[in-house]
């Protein structure tokens, strides 16, 4: 099993999910309650009253404070307890841990690890999610599978041909060789698959309006442990970027995943599709949201099945890896290295 990687930033939620209501999320086995204070600041506190462990997410707010729904212990956004029932002395240890929370690119990131090591400048970027000229559809599916299975899945897109035929998969995806690079210092895995003069899958034919054969680029950029970017370029075959980088003849989709381990065998699968074409077309948004959720659910069903297989297999089972796994193997190694 790939170990948890602590001392890292993880996506806990989309910005719009954190508001007045108390939102419960478990991240790397740590239950956290998220909410937004009246001045708009997103807060994350350990979701367990210090008294008798009652989940604060099942409690209520009193202004910016949370009042435990069991006995009324009352907590500030800092985690400090300011009220306990029926006595004036507040025990010195009456405090719940608070988490460092940063909002960036419409994502709510939380630091899991030693608080003094948190550096917000290390949070990887996905600017298209919150940028003029782009439109994003997105969702989150809980996965009953360990996060490493989702990393494997996303680093080897040849599975699109078999698992996602009729949506994003075409025969050429599995047939086209890949180039894999690992930037050891920046800890990034790149996997590039450039397809020329190939069939346009329904996912892009219907949304881009491109008729006929296409050139299709799938450039993966995985920033372990949490952020996965698929820079997808779709253009009528033969249309290349200009020498100055001008690529207005092509359509671009930035497929973003945040892979957030929930427990050792469950994962929060945040998926996003940002596009620079048909940005104001609601029908295209609806189509892409529905199609991509279908694709994600195909993965969810497959990965949940894999988790059940792994749970019952004897120890020491040996997998077989072939050329398509070159990027996935690189990602696994970086995750092991980060986990220390």
């Amino acid at each position: 099993m790939t170990a948890f990687v602590r001392n890292q930033w993880y996506v806990a939620a989309y910005t719009e999910e954190v508001g007045e209501d108390l939102l419960a999320r478990t991240i790397l086995g740590e239950p956290i309650v998220f909410y937004r204070t009246q001045d708009g600041t997103a807060v994350g506190l350990a979701d367990r009253c210090v008294h008798r462990r009652f989940p604060l997410s099942l409690s209520r707010r009193d202004g910016d404070r949370i009042v435990c729904g069991y006995h009324g212990f009352t907590y500030e956004p800092s985690g400090a307890c300011v009220y306990v029932p029926a006595q004036t002395r507040i025990p010195r240890t009456a405090r719940v841990p608070s988490y460092r929370v940063v909002e960036q690119d419409s994502l709510v990131w939380v630091w899991i690890g030693e608080p003094e090591l948190a550096d917000a400048s290390a949070i990887p970027r996905a600017p298209w999610l919150d940028q003029p000229g782009w439109t994003t559809v997105r969702g989150m599916e809980p996965l009953a599978a360990r996060y490493g299975l989702l990393v494997d899945n996303l680093l080897d897109l040849s599975h699109e041909t078999y698992l996602h035929g009729g949506y994003i998969g075409t025969p050429e995806v599995a047939e086209t060789p890949i180039t894999t690079e690992v930037d050891e210092d920046a800890r990034i895995v790149y996997v590039r698959r450039r397809m020329k003069d190939v069939e346009c899958p329904p996912f892009y034919a219907s949304s881009t309006g491109i008729d006929g054969r296409i050139d299709r680029w799938q450039d993966i950029e995985y920033r372990p442990p949490c952020l996965y970017l698929l820079h997808s370029r779709i253009a009528p075959t033969g249309v290349e970027p200009g020498p100055d980088g001008d690529d207005r003849g092509a359509c671009h989709a930035e497929i973003v995943y945040a892979i957030t381990p929930e427990t050792e065998t469950t994962t929060l699968d945040f998926w996003m599709v940002a596009r620079d074409f048909a940005v104001d077309d609601e029908a295209v948004s609806e189509f892409l949201a529905k199609s991509n959720r279908t694709v994600v659910m195909q993965d969810v069903v497959a990965l949940n099945a894999l988790e059940r297989v792994i749970a019952t297999e004897p120890e020491g089972y040996q997998e077989l890896s072939i050329n398509i796994d070159t990027g996935g193997l690189a990602a696994r190694r970086l995750l092991r290295k980060l986990a220390g």
């Binding site: 210092d185 072939i322 193997l329």
Partner: protein
């Protein structure tokens, strides 16, 4: 991009993988596990063909 980049190219029309270490050493294999092991052994690349770059 920083300098410490390992690269594996899967040549179109072939099953062979071509690996290049950040030191310039190159190696071919038909198994990604073997090729990653070879690359990550840097600077101890057994039987490396090098392009002359310094390790």
């Amino acid at each position: 991009m920083s300098a410490a980049v390992y690269r594996i190219v899967w040549a179109p029309g072939s099953d062979r993988l071509h690996g290049t270490c950040h030191c310039g050493a190159e190696h071919d294999a038909d198994d990604p596990v073997e090729l990653w092991q070879w690359l990550l052994a840097h600077p101890d690349h057994a039987g490396a063909e090098t392009n002359g770059a310094a390790g």
